[in-house]
């Protein structure tokens, strides 16, 4: 099944995307409301929380270009040294831009 990209069709496409995305935003807490929170469940969701970040970042680091890899490496080093996110992020972006400019 397909939707034609007429004006009305595009509105329908947007509505469908919005509803699916809303379901993902609401679905987690909704499903959790049926789960009894015990220490084991709490440990699961706490560990899962930082694992989400790692799962997003690992493919970026593995499959990104040299600029992407150096950006992440720079951010990691600055964050571990300075413990301040903003300079770490700025350094990472600068590293990506510089790498792509010079190489």
């Amino acid at each position: 099944m397909s939707i034609e990209t007429t004006h009305l069709g595009v509105i329908l496409i947007i509505a469908i995307m919005a509803l699916v995305t809303l379901a993902t935003r609401w679905g987690g807490p909704f499903l959790m409301s049926f789960v009894t929170i015990n220490p084991r469940v709490e440990s699961f969701i706490n560990t899962m929380a930082s694992s989400v970040l790692i799962a997003i970042l690992t493919p970026m680091a593995f499959t990104g270009d040299l600029g992407a890899k150096l950006a992440l490496a720079t951010t990691a080093i600055l964050m571990l040294v300075l413990h301040k996110p903003l300079p770490a992020i700025a350094g990472g972006i600068l590293a990506a831009a510089a790498t792509r400019y010079f190489l």
Partner: protein, 238 residues
């Protein structure tokens, strides 16, 4: 029930403070919104439609992916499947906030989740790891990020030529560097490190061998499993 249902009251001053806290990072989001707006009009989407998509969907990666499907027609099932797969990480993000969210009235709980996205969630999750309850950043930070995404999209659909190549400026790495700084700012102990290694390994295996866009959920659940089986010591002591 392990705890009595204490109440979580959003502090308006704190909401404003979190709005300002994420203001710097939202400036980069403007650049990405502009890149999306430009890409949308290049696909033949009219400015108003592109803007409406950013207002209502507010999930950049899935919006870019929808453009990949664009033509005279858009296939419905792939559209739904891809949107769901890319945004399914929200399920886990929302679930991870549940210990705090459940202490809040239902309408407020689902209200603030309207603007749940990677960056404001990452701050809330990091604060929670460090022992601070911060749902204000979901609302305040979410609103500033949503506004930035909207403003960026408007700039892109009307003045797209301004930002032809965000990658050359390193702007494609903003979210990655931001999320990495959040991960490294949280608590680190052997249990967390093992979970990260498991999560990263599982994510890469899913990235290579499973259907596209499943790696985030697979990796996160694998990392969570480490926490499920390996509890922190203080919970074992009694």
């Amino acid at each position: 029930m392990t705890t009595s249902p204490a109440t979580y009251r959003l502090d308006p001053a704190q909401v404003r403070a979190e709005f300002l806290r994420l203001l710097p990072i939202s400036l980069f989001v403007v650049a990405f919104g502009a890149a999306f707006g430009l890409a949308a009009v290049q696909k033949g989407i009219v400015p108003l439609e592109g803007t409406l998509m950013s207002v209502l969907v507010f999930a950049g990666a899935s919006q870019f992916a929808a453009l990949e499907l664009w033509g005279d027609q858009v296939a419905l099932l792939p559209l739904i499947a891809i949107t769901f797969a890319i945004n399914s990480r929200h399920l886990l993000m929302g679930a991870s906030l549940y210990p705090m969210l459940r202490q809040m009235p239902t309408a407020q709980r689902y209200g603030i989740l309207l603007v749940l996205t990677d960056a404001n969630w990452a701050v809330a999750a990091q604060d929670y790891q460090n022992g601070r309850r911060n749902l204000e950043v979901i609302l305040g930070g979410g609103v500033v990020l949503w506004m930035a995404w909207l403003i960026g999209t408007l700039l892109g659909v009307y003045f797209g030529g301004l930002l032809q190549d965000p990658k050359s400026l390193g702007l494609d790495m903003v979210l990655g560097c931001f999320l990495l700084s959040m991960a490294l700012g949280g608590r680190k102990n052997p249990r967390v490190i093992v979970a990260w290694i498991v999560a990263g390994t599982a994510a890469m295996m899913a990235y290579w061998w499973l259907p596209p866009h499943t790696h985030v959920v697979v990796g996160a659940l694998a990392g969570g499993a480490v926490g499920f089986f390996w509890l922190e010591h203080k919970s074992d002591e009694h």
